[in-house]
């Protein structure tokens, strides 16, 4: 198999995610967060937030639904059995709060081949209902022997 650079620039339909209070708490417990802003509604309200605050890395949760279509796109042609997650970058804007509606769009940012391996970079942009970008992500995957 080879890489298909013709798909660079392709975008996918936006995916919507409704941020739930218990989902934030479930995620916060799983990653070991202890900051009460993520766990305790009263503490979050006392700090001026409408509800519990998502930890920054909760971006993974609201972005994932938008990533699946690109990962499974036959035009992109990723062989999962050879894929490893090479790198990740997130840039954050305003905080995400339980009750937010987040819309994420994904674009194929880059595909290159080096030393027989395929390097795939997907860019995600997540926007809240006020139109503010809450998170931009760059997802770098390496497919060995692509």
């Amino acid at each position: 198999m080879g890489i298909n650079t013709g798909v660079i620039g392709k975008t996918y339909p936006p995916a919507e995610y409704s941020v739930g209070r218990e989902k934030i708490r479930e995620y916060a417990f799983a990653v070991g967060e202890t900051n009460p802003l993520h766990l305790d509604v009263a503490a979050a309200r006392e700090a001026g937030h409408a509800d519990v605050v998502a930890p920054p890395m909760f971006a993974v949760v609201y972005s994932f639904p938008a990533l699946w279509p690109v990962l499974f796109d036959p035009e992109v042609g990723i062989d999962f059995s050879r894929m490893v997650h090479g790198g990740q970058e997130f840039t954050w804007g305003p905080l995400v709060i339980a009750g937010d509606e987040i819309t994420t769009t994904v674009r194929v940012a880059d595909i290159t081949e080096r030393a027989g391996n395929g390097f795939y970079v997907f860019a995600s942009e997540s926007v809240n209902a006020r139109g503010e970008t809450v998170c931009s992500g760059r997802w770098s995957n390496i497919v060995r022997g692509a």
């Binding site: 799983a30 802003l37 993974v60 949760v61 954050w92 905080l95």
Partner: protein, 130 residues
């Protein structure tokens, strides 16, 4: 914070079932993280940690140092090697620069002497910054 300062290290030992809880919490059910037999069949030592879980530990060390979730504005990491459950992860970081209230921290995560996240860079904006 000033250049050269080290942030408070964060040490955590993910328990045996952590990868299952993280899979549920994150939505990433790749069997290499939750199925011991499958992981071994594809040549891994066993179930491995989700890279994004390990990245979340790096993020946590930054938000603890920065004073809360709002302080972390950017984090980039490279995943190298595999993290395993039931072994301690240690996140460390050092302030590289402070400019206009933006603190850049060079950081990483190691397990058993192996750097499984390297070349990580965080950008913090401190709450009391101008």
């Amino acid at each position: 914070m000033k250049p050269g300062d080290e942030i408070e290290p964060l040490a955590v030992t993910p328990d045996k079932y952590l990868t299952v809880r993280y899979a549920g919490a994150s939505g990433d059910f790749n069997p290499i993280h939750i199925d011991e037999e499958f992981a071994q069949q594809v040549g891994l030592p066993g179930r491995i940690l989700h890279g994004l879980y390990t990245m979340a530990q790096v993020a946590r060390a930054q938000t603890d140092a920065g004073g809360g979730p709002e302080s972390l504005k950017r984090l980039s990491v490279q995943f190298r090697g595999m993290g395993l459950p039931e072994h301690e992860l240690v996140v460390t970081g050092k302030v590289a620069s402070v400019d206009d209230g933006v603190v850049v921290v060079e950081c990483g995560c190691e397990q058993g002497g192996k750097r499984i996240i390297r070349n990580a860079e965080a950008e913090l904006r401190l709450p009391d910054a101008p």
